[in-house]
Amino acid sequence: MYPPKLNNIINLFETLPEVERRETLVSYADAAKKQEPKPGEQFKLEDVRKDEECADTVGVYLHVDDEGKAHFRMTLGSEVQTLTRAMTAILCKGLDGATPQEILDLPSDFVTRIVGEQLVRVRSQTTYYILTRMKGICKVYLDRQRRMAASAA
């Protein structure tokens, strides 16, 4: 149901008591900077913007390889909240290698299993934002592919 890498992360978080869950989220948040684009990397699509749903600018960079698998890079402004940083690192890792269609079709119920019901309840907007942005760029990519296929036919 979920991409294998994401499934592993979900399984890990579900075994953690609340304190360790928060510590692990913070560890992922610390690692979010590693998801920034590297010099020389090329992307199919780039979507850098400041939305009302987030405290600062978030950039999503999508690369789709020759096998049709998605790879993400992300940039986060300094005011982006810790939970959003954590979700960035988790989703970049967990969705790496999935196809854009698989990402678009992904149900969002796994977020609660990672973040925990309490954090989702008190900060629901924050927890879903990054997933929404990643799905959004996949949709644009797929729409573009379909248009190109239609015009070629």
Partner: protein, 287 residues
């Protein structure tokens, strides 16, 4: 009018350099309260405890604060007694710190202070940070006999009465929210309120008016000009402050109550998310 040249209650503020020298003092508890729910976990002032404005201080079901029994439990598990001086600090120039302080005052806890400049100033000065969650011996905080709602908290009916009697009513939201162009502060989701605008007769004084760029509070003289001269606030009149959910107005409530020493200031915590949704409430738009 003679304007104030010093804070009415300077003891309600501590500076970062003072706190750095008194981290291990007996009788104090440093309390962090943030908008960013995981910020405390990323590192906090050594010895600080975390009290979340929502999960610790609000009732999970009813839109209200916790009961006196639950407040006693929050204090007891954080090693706080009625004699403990709680020093509040947090992100966003202390919005949530002053909100937590105000909530502590609702339960009659009197020994409260704010770290001037909050978390950002502490961090900007390169002061120590720790991820270690401190453990304090559990205390037995007595259940407060009552909640002081009537003294420092306003409800919608109080705000309506204030509006009709043309007494000081201060809207501390951003100008766009006051004018009714948006229903949340800029950069935040426009959600949760059906109508935009302000309570008739309210004066727009955004919370930021009281703060310097580094999040510290402006001088007593500057604050007196803004609120005493500019808004006609005085101890002779009741004053009600409000925002969207009560956190930004807690900042202004702290300024009026502790820094300017105004009596009878109440925070309308239902604020715009109640007023802008409630059937039949009068609303003004524009400046």
């Amino acid at each position: 009018m003679n304007l104030q040249t010093s804070y009415a209650h300077p003891e309600a503020l501590v500076e970062t350099d003072w706190l750095a020298e008194h981290l291990n003092d007996d009788g104090i508890r440093i309390v962090e309260s943030n908008e960013d729910i995981l910020l405390y976990d990323t590192g906090h002032i050594p010895g600080a405890v975390h009290i979340d404005w929502r999960s610790d201080l609000q009732d999970p079901l009813v839109r209200d604060y916790i009961s006196p029994e639950k407040f006693a439990e929050v204090c007891s598990r954080n090693g706080i007694t009625p004699e403990t001086t709680c020093i509040f600090y947090g992100d966003k120039a202390n919005w949530w710190a002053t909100y937590a302080l105000w909530a502590f005052r609702l339960f009659g806890h009197e020994k409260v202070k704010v770290l001037n400049g909050g978390r950002d100033k502490w961090k900007a000065e390169g002061r120590p940070s720790s991820r270690e969650v401190p453990k304090y011996p559990r205390t037995n905080y007595p259940v407060p006999p009552k909640r002081y709602d009537a003294e420092i908290r306003a409800f919608a009916e109080d705000a309506l009465k204030q509006s009709k009697s043309a007494k000081p009513l201060i809207d501390v939201r951003s100008p766009g929210e006051f004018r009714g162009e948006i229903t949340h502060m800029p950069e935040y989701p426009q959600e949760g309120v059906l109508r935009g605008g302000h309570i008739p007769g309210a004066k727009s004084v955004p919370w930021k008016t009281a703060a310097n760029d580094d999040g510290t509070f402006k001088s007593a003289e500057e604050l007196a000009k803004i609120y005493l001269e500019g808004c006609g606030v005085s101890s002779e009149n009741d004053t009600i402050v409000y925002c969207r959910i009560g956190e930004r107005s807690s900042h202004t409530w702290f300024v009026l109550t502790y820094l300017l020493g105004i009596d009878n200031v109440r925070n309308y915590d239902g604020s715009w998310t109640e007023w802008g949704n409630r059937v039949g409430m009068p609303i003004e738009r524009g400046t």
